[in-house]
């Protein structure tokens, strides 16, 4: 099963990944990371199709796609 893996402390909460996910499962979490940003996260890994859109859209190389 594909899944997005977030290097959460690198996330800057920019939301660019959230709009490209065809499944709309990349969302901003309601917490702060150590840098003071609300990080992106996956709301439902089971739906992930491994399209890598989110990873490609991320300016901070936060996301790996594991298969």
């Amino acid at each position: 099963m594909p899944k997005p893996v977030f290097n959460e402390d690198r996330c800057k909460g920019c939301e660019l990944c959230t709009v490209v996910c065809p499944k709309k499962i990349v969302v901003i979490a309601n917490r702060f990371n150590s840098k003071g940003y609300r990080p992106a996260t996956c709301s439902d890994e089971s739906q992930c199709i491994g399209c890598m859109m989110c990873a490609r859209a991320c300016p901070d190389v936060v996301i790996e796609i594991h298969k």
Binding site: K12, F32, S34, K35, G36
Partner: protein, 179 residues
């Protein structure tokens, strides 16, 4: 009496404005004042700090090596400036982002959950005002009134901002004053 206050945090947390308001207030009170910024290299996410001096004497060096008070808005700032604080000095910690406690026991520590309070007030951006309220209450370097006057002058074109900012300042002050 000379207050030498360092305010530090991430770029974007509004520490520069805090310092400017306090400096402005000092000027309105006819004190000798200076404000000096120090930016990290980054536009965002980097560290930024400013040095505020409010004094009854003419000010020589505008830089501060042994602050009488330190405001730490994030952890790196705490780590950086706590050691320099004078014995008996005031340390304001933004406890919303910093879990760590003061390591020094010879200083007065105030923990201000500024992001949380700002969140409560409905505007994350006023976190710095909460802290500003705290530092003026703790140092008594300038009065709250002067700060509000300074705010009114600096944001003369945006009078709408006054209310929420005043609220934030009051909340911060109240926290220090234990109200």
């Amino acid at each position: 009496m000379t207050h030498e206050i360092v305010m530090a945090g991430f770029g974007g947390q509004g520490v520069m404005l805090m310092g400017q308001l306090m400096t402005y207030a000092g000027m309105l009170e006819n004190k000798q004042v200076s404000w000096m910024p120090s930016y990290g290299p980054e536009m965002r996410g980097g560290t930024a700090n400013c040095s505020v001096i409010i004094s009854d004497e003419p000010i020589g060096a505008p830089i501060i090596t042994e602050p009488t008070a330190v405001v730490a808005m994030n952890l790196p700032s705490l780590d950086k400036f706590e050691p320099a604080l004078r014995t008996g000095g005031i340390l304001i910690i933004n406890s919303s982002l910093i879990e760590q406690k003061a390591k020094r026991s010879d200083v007065k520590e105030y923990r201000v959950p500024s992001n949380d309070i700002a969140s409560e007030l409905g505007n994350l951006k006023v976190a710095n005002m909460v802290v500003l309220g705290a530092i003026i209450a703790a140092t008594k370097a300038v009065s709250q009134e002067s700060v509000m006057q300074a705010f009114a002058k600096m944001f003369a074109k945006k009078p709408g901002l006054l209310e929420i900012n005043e609220k934030a300042i009051k909340r911060g002050a109240a926290l220090v004053e234990g109200k």
